[in-house]
């Protein structure tokens, strides 16, 4: 692009949006407005991308309407771990864009910051990824369609106990979900007779795993339990793990599926082969719903792979549609929440339900192993624990 045009473009754009700020557009016939607060830039941008993909895919299949109303999806970037921006975005979606439903929330701090807005504005808030257990307790209008960390951790801790792993070193990211994962792993694993030989919390942003990995190698546990948010970090961890020959020292990895989710699996590469993790969704989950989902996904986004976040975006929109069907199109928060409590349906990941008491999700958690399927790295499910409620809730 010519420099001159780009200047003109910026100026024109500034002027145009200044106008659009002032004059509120009032064209479509009363659309249903759904506002998503998501990380679209920065280190967690892929979360936003996947969730938006899933949400749009659902709308594409429903002909762009829910309960007979055209749906307007408004996406706001909160850049990842920046709660004040998330909160501002949620507030603006409510007061300026007048959305009917809030959704999205890639990481726990964003959801924590935005929850008071849901309460104050009386808007349903659908969490599509943020995974600390406590999020749904922060407002009566919050419900979750993704997962919680304790929910993923308990099954893998159980699996570890049953498969001869006795001594574990835990490594988690130092924020809400990480603390949840650490506590749950310790609880389930020691109850089964296992022993925690060490634990460490790493910074959420830009951690350097080298010193921790060296320490783990020296202590020589049977396995290391890992939870860090998927992305550059999981890739960096695996790289360090291989470079320092921890596998050769006989140390295994047990982890939540964040380590081998489809969006980063190819970046981890063959080092991921054989890794055992727990998660609610795999691209190769064997069901007609998932076959249809992955086919539609690749048709719409040939460059990306469907992962659990995209399924959460898909199910989030699906939940809105099913709930409005039940309320007859009424989106007032109290009616919406009453209808959504106890709702169950078949998702591409299997059958799922919204717990009527906690508004959190109940679903099957699968134990999977990374294998090569048709030339692609995939998480092949070989065991499952059905109807797991969030164990983090009383």
């Amino acid at each position: 692009m010519q420099p001159r045009t780009s200047i003109a473009w910026v100026t024109a754009a500034l002027a145009a949006s200044a106008l659009s700020l002032a004059a509120h557009s009032a064209w479509a016939a009363d659309p249903l407005k759904v506002g998503l607060v998501l990380p679209m830039s920065g280190p967690f941008a892929s979360y936003g991308k996947q969730i938006e993909h899933g949400a749009r895919l659902y709308l594409q299949q429903s002909g762009g309407t829910i309960a007979g109303r055209p749906v307007e999806l408004i996406v706001k970037d909160d850049t990842g771990v920046a709660p004040e921006i998330s909160k501002r975005a949620a507030q603006e979606l409510v007061v300026k864009d007048k959305v009917d439903v809030l959704g999205g929330f890639g990481l726990t701090p964003s959801a924590f910051a935005a929850a008071p807005i849901a309460t104050e504005a009386k808007k349903p808030m659908i969490v599509m990824n943020a995974a600390a257990s406590a999020i749904t307790t922060k407002s009566n209008y919050v419900l979750r369609v993704s997962h919680t960390l304790p929910q993923l951790t308990a099954p893998i801790a159980d699996w570890a106990v049953k498969n001869g792993i006795r001594k574990v070193y835990t490594l988690v990211a130092d924020f809400g979900p990480g603390h949840d994962a650490e506590a749950q792993f310790k609880k389930t694993f020691t109850a089964g007779g296992g022993e925690i030989v060490g634990e460490v919390r790493t910074p959420v942003k830009n951690p350097d795993f080298a010193p921790f990995l060296q320490k783990i190698k020296d202590i020589k546990p049977d396995a290391v339990f890992l939870f860090v948010p998927p992305g550059e970090q999981t890739v960096a961890f695996m790289k360090g793990f291989v470079e320092r020959d921890l596998a050769k020292a006989g140390i295994r990895i047990v982890a939540t599926g964040d380590l081998t989710e489809e969006d980063i699996l190819d970046a981890v590469g063959d080092n991921a082969l054989g890794l055992i993790t727990s998660l609610q969704y795999s691209e190769v989950h064997n069901s007609p719903e998932n076959a249809a989902y992955t086919r539609a996904y690749y048709a719409a986004y040939p460059k990306d792979r469907p992962n659990y976040m995209s399924v959460s975006g898909f199910d989030g929109m699906q939940l809105i549609a099913r709930t409005l069907e039940k309320t007859g199109g009424d989106v007032t928060a109290d009616k919406f929440m009453a209808a959504a409590r106890g709702m169950s349906w078949t998702s591409p990941r299997g059958s799922i339900a919204i717990d009527p008491d906690t508004r959190d999700i109940t679903q099957t958690i699968y134990i999977r192993k990374v294998e090569r399927v048709d030339g692609k790295l995939q998480n092949v499910e070989f065991d499952a624990v059905a109807n797991v409620r969030d164990p983090g809730k009383p």
Binding site: A13, S41, A82, E84, Q91, E92, V94, P116, D174, V204
Partner: protein, 331 residues
């Protein structure tokens, strides 16, 4: 040589309010009427402007470079946030506590900062901010760590105005605080104390010769700047009722420097205008393109630096000179 032999009229004239300045302060009222749905953003612009003003005092006037000014902002935010989270939700009390806390921190660290030259100062300020960041990160029980400090509940402002969802109270509160502190800063920079700071920036070696205690002056302005930053942080904590760990982040310090340079350092209005331009551009661009807005923001900054040296204020000054020249030519 006595002071009386100097003609002080130009200095006195600078202290007087120019009509254009009065017009400038009508902008918040206009913004309120034109963008009633964007009060949250406008509030955060006012807060950033105040924060930027505090850096301008120490960098633009006294010439102390700092890459860790967020330390005071964050310290104030946590002070006010913790106070409100523990039951003392009065906004003005929160501001006072935050100002005192940050000023104390500023005073203590000023001795470290003033020891070195520019590069050392960059490092020391950066280091102090990084230390505070890690402390807040590790004290999860107190600060909430990365998850942020929750449970802040504010009582109504002056016992009458509750903080509403549309952000009206928050907006007028932030604008009022900004205006009062701007007015105070304006008095300050035009006072003999303020002039001595300019002198220090322009020629530090000569100032002791005319009897100005350089280090005491710098220490004083650094403390005042810290208090200003602390109040800005407290405003953010109170109006968002949340304190995120990134109030202390390096990114915030660096962005602040950028905003000041964009607006024009060494001019109080430069700090305010920089905040308005930067935050508006950021908002508009990220709304248009949630994924690649940073590219356009970068482009905008480069354009400003290329075509308006000394920031927006420098550009405006040159424009008004040029206009004045034209007028003279026409006569």
């Amino acid at each position: 040589m006595s002071l009386a032999t100097f003609d002080l009229t130009p200095l006195r004239r600078a202290d007087r309010w120019h009509p254009a300045e009065l017009a400038f302060w009508l902008l918040p009222v206009a913004a309120y009427l034109v963008f009633p749905d964007n009060l949250v953003l406008l509030t955060q612009i006012a807060i950033t402007a105040l924060f930027c003003l505090s850096l301008d005092l120490i960098l633009g006037y006294a010439g102390i470079v700092s890459l860790g000014h967020a330390a005071f902002f964050g310290f104030g935010a946590y002070a006010a946030g913790l106070l409100a989270a523990n039951g003392i939700g009065d906004p003005l009390a929160g501001l006072a506590v935050a100002a005192l806390a940050s000023a104390a921190l500023g005073f203590v660290t000023s001795f470290l900062v003033l020891r070195g030259s520019d590069l050392t100062r960059l490092m020391v300020t950066l280091g102090i901010a990084m230390m505070l960041y890690e402390v807040a990160n590790k004290l999860t029980d107190l600060t909430g760590g990365v998850d942020g400090l929750q449970g802040i509940e504010m009582t109504p402002l002056l016992g009458r105005f509750t903080f509403d969802l549309y952000g009206k109270t928050a907006y007028w509160y932030a604008v009022a605080v900004l205006f009062l502190l701007f007015w105070a800063a304006r008095k300050l920079v035009h006072s003999p104390f303020g002039l001595s700071l300019k002198g220090i920036r322009l020629n530090v070696a000569r100032m002791p010769a005319i009897g100005a205690p350089v280090n005491a002056r710098l220490s004083a302005i650094y403390t005042i700047g810290a208090a200003y930053a602390g109040i800005a942080g407290a405003l953010l904590a109170q109006t968002t009722q949340f304190v995120a760990l990134d109030v202390l982040s390096f990114n915030r310090s660096a962005e602040l420097m950028l905003i000041l340079v964009l607006g024009g350092s060494g001019s109080l209005y430069g700090a305010v205008i920089g905040a308005i331009v930067f935050m508006s551009a950021h908002h508009v661009l990220s709304d248009m393109n949630p994924e690649y807005w940073q590219f356009w923001l970068g482009a905008l900054l480069v354009v400003v630096v290329l075509f308006a040296r000394d920031g927006v204020m420098g550009g405006l000054r040159r424009l008004s000179h040029a206009a004045g020249g034209l007028r003279k030519g026409a006569r």
